[in-house]
Symmetry: C2
Subunit: 238 residues, 2 copies
DNA sequence: ATTATCTATAGATCTATAGATAATGC
DNA sequence: ATTATCTATAGATCTATAGATAATGC
């Protein structure tokens, strides 16, 4: 008997595989489910798939999550960063234009690195408005924030005369569209024969690009973009 | 017996409902399936649903389509307009900028009015690359066309120095993102309690807006946009 | 005979529950 | 006793096939 192996074993019956869970089983399930949902989409992932990926038997999953939907809910409850970030930006100094730049860049990056495909999340969240209320709130708040920022930018004369509602639609559409293409690209890098031919881009590059595109479409003087980018860079990684 | 009722009845056993199909049963199935897929997504629509919507029993559907996937294939095979339009634009006169404007506007409009959700189509098409080869081809060709147009625009000095690959990603992402938001909005206008609060927009308005946003983000002199719009308008509805 | 539908059902999943089992903690 | 797993399975779908049936066409 090696003394060093006396890592206190976890409670409950051991797993059939013999492997003990590495961290918290709940966290592992959420992480595994996140990956699978992102890859194949919620409907195409079974409780068996999730269980296997987390090293459990199918029915053992029900000890942790009593319904499949609750797994989904947990996977993106983890992901509730942007709201906090929005508040932080609001409190900090900077022009509306620069704040919008940071916001778009952050949201795109965040979506690209998120385990869930927003498109499907939105579809599922529609069916269960109560369960997914947080999700809707966040998305709506982002929309409202864009409206506010565009209004401010137009008033200050930095932006061309724009419909702020349309601008908000543009931001959300663009960010989510970019996320989707990023996902596809990532999947195919792993999966082999790709129907997409274009070059790989990393998430940071796409996020920069999304923010730049949106801002250039709003700025009265597009040449000011590089100034904004320098200012935004001063805030570090975000 | 009223003489006028002698509309020759269709072949085969009559439907249980008593109603004869209005047009070609195949067309009706495709139309009904298109609506359902768009509403709920392919995976959430059963053969029963499609059959009922088309006035048939579930298994009667298999007379027309031997697999569910073939129904999907048929729903968007109908929808193969944009390629033809692309060729038409290419042959006509105009600057690369104006052609890009028309292209983006057309693609957005076309997606918004399409029965299928591109996002899901892409996911499904990945699983069956052979069956959906046309779809990939069209999407790729659109991508390539954007690359070509942006390159031409940059060379002629109309566009700021841009990465044409990123621009193409932007166009596809944006168009598809807009489509999705348009769909949601349309669903909720029918469905009642909407998690989305923003104002309704019609497809034409969104298409104009998408094209304007993309072009403004590329043009060296954004003020030229209105000129482009006037030129594009000269080509009529598209 | 051909066409287009029907009814009935086999077979494949997939979710979710019931109840047994094998650890630790007290 | 409590915790976390297991095995087994009921029940609900959903796809797809087999074979009967009711029209028209020749």
């Amino acid at each position: 008997m090696v003394r060093g192996e006396e890592l206190s074993r976890p409670l409950g019956r051991p797993r059939a595989t013999g492997d003990a869970p590495v961290g918290s089983p709940r966290e592992e399930i959420i992480a595994a489910a996140g990956r699978l949902f992102a890859e194949r989409g919620y409907a195409q992932v079974t409780m068996s798939d999730i269980a296997r990926a987390a090293g459990l038997q199918q029915s053992s999953l029900y000890y942790w999550f009593r319904r499949k939907e609750l797994v989904l809910h947990a996977t993106f409850a983890v992901n509730r960063v942007p709201l906090e970030f929005m508040n932080r930006i609001g409190a900090q100094s900077g022009s509306p234009a620069m704040k919008l730049y940071r916001l778009v860049r952050f949201d795109t990056l965040q979506l690209c690195n998120s385990p869930c495909d927003v498109n499907e999340l939105e579809r599922l969240a529609e069916g269960q408005p109560k369960l997914f209320a947080n999700f809707w709130e966040d998305r709506q708040r982002l929309h409202d924030w864009v409206v506010t920022l565009v209004n401010a930018g137009v008033e200050e004369g930095y932006f061309v005369d724009s419909d702020p509602e349309l601008a908000a639609i543009a931001v959300l559409s663009f960010d989510e569209g970019i996320q989707k293409r990023f996902r596809h690209q990532a999947e195919h890098r792993l999966g082999g024969t790709s129907p997409f031919r274009h070059q790989s881009r990393n998430a940071a590059e796409l996020a920069e690009f999304a923010a730049a595109t949106i801002l250039r479409s709003l700025l009265r003087r597009p040449a000011n973009l590089s100034l904004l980018q320098r200012q935004a860079a001063a805030f570090g990684d975000d």
